[in-house]
Symmetry: D2
Subunit: 283 residues, 4 copies
């Protein structure tokens, strides 16, 4: 069984679904998933579709036909994926290990359909974990002075390994605009607050100070404005006055790892589209 996943968005007009589904049908594709959404404010049509084919199709000519017959007439932005090669994912960490353990244990159990060629860190501390999972570890220290150079090193690694997506798993550095532009909507961060509340540094301290009764975590695509990128997933946990900042940090860790894992899954299963700094999540 050969499988294709298609993501599109285009100006909203009548007949798109019929045209697209008929195209797949005519090419002997059986549609096993379809979901669509219309942004009525901006008049944009979004769709995600999965199709199975009994026999392998010639993907290049299929894409060409789709482009000419469907995508161009409807002015579509589109992405088409075949199930073959898993996404290549790099993980950036600092010293906290809870998200890294969580990602790697999911990876090992086959829960994430990705390949993780290496881990990058500005500290050497988590190398033993990378080792125990048999994954490469690059220690690239980042200081005020060498920031640009360090980033070049990171970019080289990402390009050499043809990385698709970068996960900032509590990587405590601000990523530069250059990296972000090279990986638009392909750098995923976990922020330890319920955004837009408590953006920036030390959100648990701010949450404690404000006396909120619920804390949260937010998984989002990284854009140049700090903690303001398209939100992929959020979740929350109840707290009370009796919780210290340390309690919030501990409770928050569980949120961070779960929310980041969900965000990663949504991305690697090609269930996210970004438009206008917001995500459309096809579930």
């Amino acid at each position: 069984m050969f499988k294709i996943t298609l993501l599109i968005h285009c100006p909203d007009t009548s007949g798109i679904i019929s045209k697209v589904t008929t195209f797949f049908h005519n090419h002997k594709g059986n549609i096993i998933y379809i979901d669509q959404y219309v942004d009525t404010e901006n008049k944009i049509f979004f769709m995600r579709l999965e199709s199975e084919f009994r026999s392998k199709i010639e993907i290049a000519s299929f894409k060409k036909a789709f482009s000419e017959e469907i995508a161009m007439p409807y002015q579509m932005s589109w992405q088409m994926y075949t199930a073959g090669n898993p996404i290549k994912m790099a993980v950036f960490v600092s010293k906290y290990d809870h998200c890294l353990y969580d990602i790697l244990s999911r990876y090992k159990s086959g829960e994430l359909n990705v390949e993780i060629p290496f881990i990058v860190s500005n500290h050497p501390d988590l190398k033993p974990i990378a080792d125990s999972f048999g994954i490469g570890f690059h220690h690239i220290p980042v200081t005020k002075e060498n920031k640009e150079e360090a980033e070049e090193q990171q970019l080289d690694l990402l390009q050499k390994e043809k990385i698709d997506v970068v996960i900032l798993a509590r990587y405590m550095q601000i990523v530069s605009g250059k990296l972000i532009q090279r990986f638009p909507n392909r750098i995923i961060n976990i922020h330890h607050s319920f955004l837009p509340a408590f953006a920036g540094a030390r959100p648990y301290h701010s949450a404690y100070k404000r006396g909120v009764k619920i804390i949260g975590a937010t998984c989002h695509y990284v854009t140049e404005e700090l903690d303001a990128g398209p939100i992929i997933e959020q979740d929350i946990s109840r707290i009370s006055h009796s919780h210290s900042i340390r309690d919030l940090i501990l409770k928050g860790r569980d949120l961070e790892k779960i929310v980041l894992a969900r965000g990663i899954k949504l991305h690697v299963e090609r269930k996210t589209l970004v438009y206008n700094n917001k995500t459309i999540i096809f579930t």
Copy 2:
């Protein structure tokens, strides 16, 4: 703008989506919502579709064409709704008023696209509430002796007013098989537990006794087996050892009214399909 909502299920095969969407497109319908699900175990295809038409269509001939060209060849079970007439809904209550207040205040605010011709109760207590909302109230006492007769009265009322759906809003009586057969998947009950845990009577007492840390409520279609019908919606609330049975009852009320309201909305917006004693919920 004229709008049609279509719900179908049929044996799964290739090309259904393409056929249906092209049919709508050819009749000048613009599909504004489509969602589908395949029960791979039973090989059944389910779909919900909303389509807008710029000009009013001849619905009888449209239905006929759909039946002949699409539904019959694919052996579909299907329901087609136009937005015109709201669903007619009867509410059955006993003495508890929290669900009734909740339903009626939503009704009054226009949140529910229904018409409520009357309320039925085996007790007279809630008549003043019906009065204050200007809704008819039928007091039909139910005893062991008159149960059959009382049910005849209920059926008469339901038929005379052409009721589409019956809501058991904490109606503390078991509904007979006769009524259920006349309204298959059209009687909605709220059960005050997280089914299948604590089916039957006095679930809060059982929850207290078992020492659970979470209580729930379940909105489901009524079938002849008690509390075993297709589940539409569930939700839960945290409790602790310090909560008395009375606390559970009070906390539970909030669950009951919210969960019932969500279930009613899903039904009246034609977002539910039932198959094999389970619901497919199109959201």
Copy 3:
């Protein structure tokens, strides 16, 4: 059975619990609830205690003894309540009725141990609801020009009826500093966002624009800084890209009424203490 509820806070020191509980024991009080919290940062001790007495005690002399023997030596701020007279609560509304219906149906069912002498509104729309529950309704229009005068009228009403607590149940006006100073930590507001996110006007519109995946509601005491008072209770609801602003508003209503009801209950059951713009909630 005669019951006293005591709330205290004072500089933290050793022996307070022992002293207080022994005082109650010596006065033949049986302690049925005790909870305490120490703010280690500010070195403040907080406690809530409920005590039952088999026979009615002379409350004035009991208070005097407590004041002299316990409160003064420990520099306590303290409140002592007897179960006798229910709290007098005024409800301020504008045009939205969902919170009002919710409060009044709880009131009627005896769930809230309060007395509601009247409802105040700047619009006449909700008078019929007040009528149907047999509660007084004062229509006090508020304009830019008459704001001060209107507030005088409100204050007169509150004083004449000896109101303890004011509930802003989606009262769409900013309350003046004068009223707030007269009712410190006794005006309760429901804000339709997850504070501190989306403070101010039109939070559902802001939440929609930001693309959050969760919306919230916050019940808080009103202070002079808008939406920045001590938080009593919060809760959240999941949303997705497919929810319109209107969907958020509808979903939010359910949050608002539940969260406000919980906040009211905590206050009227004397389970809240405020310190440093945060609440201690004894549950």
Copy 4:
């Protein structure tokens, strides 16, 4: 600073709190936490108390005094812990690694105040994980024939290492009555359903079949009746018709590890008491 944690339960009577807190005060203990609960049905008083002492006290004589002056007159069952030695915890696993990774990464980060001398498994699969964390691993195969003998081996290990608590971290074997009697309320299991719903084998399959909209996990003390022991903690996750059994299993894993971790923490921080097959959880 020297710290004592006290847990008691006894027949409810007047003056207990006063007596206990005065005892601590007289021994120069500063009470930093007190919480109590009265089971009014069974007339049992429960209390948890933490006290700090500026200088080290003679614990043996302190205990003796407490026993004679307080515990005996009030017929108390009581446990007194000093913060010194961490709890010794054994982890039993089969082949699933998600709970094990979660426990060990928390252990390593210092989040759990325990010592884990060894892991026991009926399969050799997870030995590499134990190795990478530097923890002993005992492979004790269990078959129908050798069950009794295997259990003897387990008991020997538990006794030799003076294990306090046993965690069944998805250990897919039923533990015998003998082991349970030796470790009453000291064997903690994670069951992958919202008990009492779906007790026994394959709960995700049953949940799928029943069409529930929410799945859960339950952490409980093991008693001889399967999945019927005192519940320590539960949590839930929303699902829909579109989730396959495999989806439930994956979503469930996240629940299992979080709920088990919370249960373990409550136990090792001495925050649980068991009475009448229910837990009192002091938070």
